[in-house]
């Protein structure tokens, strides 16, 4: 036996010493750290020179004096590429820090969502005129704007964006800016944008489509586009028809539906060419989206500067921001006044009458914005409470626990706002009895959302009745009937059941034992109904209500459990089925086949906000029959198919002015409330917290500050 000391002990001694050394370093650095912090600050100050030089060479203007504004993200940033942030990596966080760098023809005012010109030189969008087969808009733009490197912003910057979008098949938001009916965008001169359409453009195509598309710095992106083009060309040179055929056949075999399987001889040359051109475009897109773009020239209030992955991103304020010094005023009549040196004085969306609701000037008033990544919500708010960040950028807002804790914190301020989105229960209208209007009406009648929202969930949510949010007054239809209401007020629990039973009876439903309703009782159904039979004589089968579990969303989980109970009382054998969020999406959203679409009865999910200036587009995409999840691959998951609705929806899409669009939006909501493909359940407010020395340009804005991340960086104040 060799007498040696155990290795572990030695290692321990060693590590202990090492730990001491580290500790010595760190503790020695408590003093040091302050020094270092000072040194760090020095570096930053000295360093201000170095970004300046970069800006100088990269073309930045003067920097902005002021505090640094620290924004806490509750999730990670996933890209620093502006193109990717609007397509494959379209997270609200990416857009929040990258999106303050561009200008569009038109914009929505903050607050009020008034349609106002941005770089457009006219107050209103130029009307499209017919030229032969096509329709054309020639929109003049301002010539006094320039990118932060001094290059002027020209019409060519929009034309470039359009060309890139088309050439590389850019998707999502890019594609939404330029719908297929946009044929071309060109720049006949630096100050005129010429847009060609294949027909008379509706609002969503021109005013709210191309009108909202950003100008991108073409001089910065052109070399990258060239690289992308080269990569695409290389692929195009190497890809063969055989490869395309193999890929197409394999793709058809890969999904397990044998009906979709293709043999090589089934594939036409057209399909091959399409595949190749898509593959080539995608190759280009991949190259374009992979460009890391710090110091991309900006015309907006912020210039993206640094991203330390997993930790933070930084944008510096643009000293040459085109709107600096502009005075904005929002009036109680819903109009918006812009007073600026360059643009003069103009009022949009009304007369400028009534009281001043909000008035603020454009800055930017902060020197830079740090967008700090956090893994969880709690972590971000903890840093807020500790004073390390100024504002938590949190699209879902404070939870009840955080609210209870932070409400008493004197250092913090809160803003509470409505959100445009809604939570709903969808019926599978491809199946009985959900395909029966009477059944849906009876179900909607017994759902006492007022009770759940006001009492059980303690006012944390509001009951909802329409797809369109009531605060979007231009589009909201006040006359939409509400299920379970009578004489302008919610019915009592007992009346709901009486009404629902009557609806079912009238439609020919029968029970083996009808529900017994005691009007006097607080819980009116003393004996649940049993053996509910459809008019055609078949028993109503067991129906499942898929909803996210309490771990994911306690609100929807609570709703699903209560709704299942009410339906049971009615005699409908319904069960709440807490299901993974992703499993619900997989079961109900496209891609679906006729068979797979038979696998669900009802589900609960929610939609976030859409385009507040044209909310009807959401109605169309959720309910138009061409958007059917099975046949159209769209978001019409219930399989709702109504000629009446489709006709109104088509008219809405063709509308060229906001008045008729609003009227049609209201009509759509009315039809939906009658046909009930969805039962809209509730909406949630958003509570945001920030430090008391922070002043946002507007406190009241639907969706909160995180709903419009590009509305405030140019005007937020941080007092010392």
């Amino acid at each position: 036996m060799k007498a040696t000391k155990p290795f572990g002990l030695r290692l321990f001694v060693f590590l202990a010493i090492f730990a001491l050394v580290v500790a010595a370093c760190t503790s020695g650095d408590t003093t040091d750290t302050t020094d270092e912090a000072g040194g760090g600050a020095d570096t930053t100050e000295g360093g201000d020179g170095s970004p300046d030089t970069t800006e100088g060479s990269d073309g930045g203007g003067p920097t902005v004096e002021g505090e640094s504004f620290n924004v806490g993200f509750i999730s990670n940033i996933t890209t620093d590429n502006w193109f990717a942030s609007l397509d494959t990596l379209s997270s609200t966080y990416n857009q929040a820090f990258l999106g303050n760098s561009k200008v569009a023809l038109f914009d929505l005012s903050n607050p009020g969502f008034v349609y106002v010109p941005d770089i457009a030189a006219t107050a209103e969008p130029v009307k499209a005129v017919q030229e032969g087969d096509i329709w054309v808009v020639e929109q003049p733009i301002r010539t006094d704007m320039s990118w932060s490197d001094g290059t002027p912003v020209t019409a060519n910057d929009l034309a470039f964006y359009f060309d890139v979008t088309r050439e590389f098949n850019l998707g999502s938001n890019h594609a939404a800016n330029f719908v297929p009916s946009v044929l071309s965008i060109t720049a006949p001169s630096d100050d005129v944008v010429r847009v060609e359409f294949d027909g008379e453009p509706g609002l969503a195509t021109w005013q709210n489509g191309v009108g909202f598309a950003d100008f991108v710095p073409s001089h910065f992106w052109a070399p990258h586009a060239e690289e992308a083009r080269a990569a695409a060309a290389e692929l195009a040179a190497n890809v063969t028809d055989e490869e395309a055929v193999t890929a197409l056949v394999d793709a058809s075999l890969a999904d397990e539906d044998p009906e979709n399987d293709l043999a090589a001889e089934d594939i036409t040359q057209e399909e091959i060419d399409a595949w190749i051109s898509d593959a080539v475009a995608n190759e280009g897109l991949t190259v374009l989206y992979a460009v890391a773009a710090p110091m991309e020239p900006s015309v907006g209030s912020q210039i993206f500067d640094q991203w330390e992955t997993g930790a933070f991103a930084a944008t510096v304020s643009n000293g040459t921001y085109f709107d600096a010094g502009t005075e904005n005023t929002y009036y109680s009549d819903g109009s918006f006044r812009i007073l600026s040196g360059a643009r003069g004085d103009a009022v949009y969306g009304g007369e400028g009458a009534g009281d001043t609701v909000v008035q603020y000037a454009e800055g930017p008033f902060v020197s830079e914005i740090l967008w700090v990544e956090h893994g969880t919500k709690d972590a971000a708010y903890e840093k807020l409470a500790a004073g390390e960040i100024d504002y938590v950028y949190d699209p879902t807002g404070l939870t009840s626990g955080l609210r209870n804790e932070l409400a008493t914190n004197p250092d913090l301020k809160f803003s509470v706002n409505q959100t445009e989105g809604f939570r709903y229960m969808a019926f599978n209208m491809r199946k009985a009895p959900m395909n029966d209007l009477a059944f849906r009406q009876a179900t909607a009648t017994v759902i006492n959302k007022e009770l759940l929202a006001d009492t059980v969930l303690a006012g944390a949510v509001f009951p909802g009745y329409t797809i369109i949010h009531p605060d979007l007054t231009t589009f909201y239809n006040t006359t939409v009937p509400r299920a379970g209401w009578a004489d302008g007020a919610p019915m009592s629990e007992a009346d709901r059941f009486v009404t629902a039973v009557q609806i079912l009876k009238d439609a020919g439903y029968t029970w083996t034992s009808e529900p017994v309703i005691d009007v006097e009782n607080a819980d009116p159904v003393t004996t649940s109904g049993e053996g509910l039979t459809m008019p055609n004589g078949t028993l109503v089968p067991e129906l499942s209500i898929m909803a996210p579990g309490p771990g994911y969303d306690p609100f929807r989980a609570t709703f699903s459990v209560w709704i299942a109970q009410w339906l049971k009382d009615l005699g409908v054998p319904a069960v709440a089925d807490p299901t993974d969020f992703n499993a619900i999406v997989a079961a109900t959203f496209p891609p679906q086949t006729e068979e797979s679409a038979q696998n669900w009865d009802m589900y609960m999910l929610g939609w976030g906000g859409g385009d507040v200036s044209l909310p009807g587009t959401s109605q169309v995409s959720f309910f138009h029959s061409r958007e059917d999840a099975v046949t159209g691959g769209g978001f019409n998951n219930p399989g709702y198919n109504s000629e009446r609705f489709d006709a109104v929806a088509d008219a809405f899409e063709a509308a060229t002015d906001i008045e008729s669009a609003a009227e049609l939006t209201m009509e759509m909501d009315l039809i939906l409330a009658e046909d009930l493909p969805y039962v809209v359940l509730f909406r949630t407010p958003i509570i945001e917290a920030y430090f008391a020395n922070v002043q946002f340009p507007a406190e009241v804005i639907m969706g909160g500050h995180s709903g419009f991340p590009n509305a405030w960086p140019s005007a937020v104040h941080v007092a010392e």
Partner: protein
């Protein structure tokens, strides 16, 4: 809870003892079970004596019994006890919250009595859109412990005590499934590997090495992304994963020591098939050791369920992990100990039950393995 048969690496195997008792060669199988039972009983007594000396083991047993009582008490409390009201005490759908009414005043300076008045700006956080002069009713949820709710209520106004008791049952069920599956898998794999040897043994042991090396948490996290995992499936998954790993290796070496015993040769000579040999001779002798591993599997299963539920990855109505998940998702976990009843009971329950089984398993280990006993 305690070993049913005497078993020790250096003790006689059951079968040998039986053979000894009967006299070798005196094959009277109809009486074998009686002998076995008797042996089991004496063994049980002997082991219990050893176990009793182990204070930590007793502590573990006490913890387990305590939780078992909770699990058994739950249906009683719900059906005839004080928790009969489904609307209040149901662990998933129950709801009760005392409501505080506040009169809304224009500014903070106008607040005279902060218990009944609130300024309009602060009130917006609870009653959005409320105006001065109106009232804002704020339900107190989570509510601190009171007479009706001994451990208070959770952020959704549900009774914590009821949830805690209800979840105990789920924890036991999960542990049981995981333990049975582990033992089933490990005994089969271990015995078969020992019996057949060769490439089969080699492959199985490499597989076991691998499973042993792999962290269960990340695997189960990824699995939860691919499947919808409920309590039973989780139990089975944990059982399979831990059954293929270390347990199989240990049981294999135990089976190997049985394989070389003379009675096995005797049985082989008398014409027993392979299956017969494995199931009638090897497995019964390996089984007692595997009970030990059941305990450790329960520990593992309870911890894993809690962790996965905490991250919201499982499809389970209510469990200790879900209780913490609810508190976390509503933002109550980082608020210090102000809402201790959301944080402490569930955390302690998971820790204690897992530890209880570990204590018992450890004590059993010392009973079975004489080298670990006190001098």
């Amino acid at each position: 809870m305690v070993i049913k048969e005497p078993e020790a690496s250096d003790a006689l195997t059951v079968e040998e003892e039986a053979h000894v008792a009967l006299g070798v060669g005196d094959e009277r199988p109809e009486r074998l079970w009686k002998v076995r039972l008797k042996l089991a009983w004496t063994g049980l007594k002997r082991n219990w004596k050893l176990f009793r000396e182990n204070k930590i083991g007793l502590l573990g047993l006490f913890i387990i019994v305590l939780f078992a009582v909770m699990a058994l008490a739950y249906p009683v409390l719900r059906s005839v006890g004080p928790w009969q009201d489904d609307g209040i005490y149901d662990p998933v759908t129950g709801y009760e919250a005392p409501v505080n009414e506040f009169e809304i005043v224009p500014t903070e300076a106008d607040v005279v009595d902060s218990a009944t008045q609130m300024d309009v700006a602060t009130a917006q956080l609870w009653c959005f859109g409320v105006l001065p002069g109106e009232t804002c009713s704020i339900p107190l949820q989570p509510a601190p412990p009171s007479e009706g709710h001994l451990l208070g209520t959770d952020p959704l106004g549900r009774d914590i005590a009821s949830q805690l008791f209800f979840s105990t049952r789920a924890a036991f069920l999960l542990g049981l499934i995981a333990a049975v599956v582990t033992v089933g898998v490990a005994t089969t794999v271990g015995s078969a590997a020992a019996f057949y040897g060769g490439w089969f043994d080699n492959f199985m042991m490499r597989l076991a090495d691998l499973v042993l090396l792999l962290p269960l948490i990340p695997i189960l996290i990824v699995m939860s992304g691919l499947w919808t995992i409920n309590l039973v499936l989780l139990g089975v998954l944990i059982g399979i994963l831990s059954g293929f790993g270390g347990t199989a290796i240990v049981l294999k070496s135990q089976a190997l020591s049985v394989k070389v015993k003379p009675f096995l040769d005797a049985a082989r000579v008398s014409g027993g098939s392979n299956g017969h040999l494995i199931f009638k001779h090897i497995i019964p002798n390996v089984l007692p050791l595997s009970f030990l591993f059941m305990m450790f599997t329960v520990t593992e299963a309870v911890s894993l369920e809690a962790t996965l539920s905490f991250f919201g990855l499982l499809n389970i109505d209510m469990s200790w992990g879900i209780m913490l998940n609810t508190a976390q998702s509503q933002g109550y976990l980082r608020t210090g100990l102000e809402y201790w009843w959301l944080l402490i009971p569930a955390g302690i329950a998971v820790t204690l039950l897992a530890a209880g089984f570990f204590f018992v398993g450890r004590a059993m280990d010392e009973v079975i393995n004489p080298r670990l006993r006190s001098r």
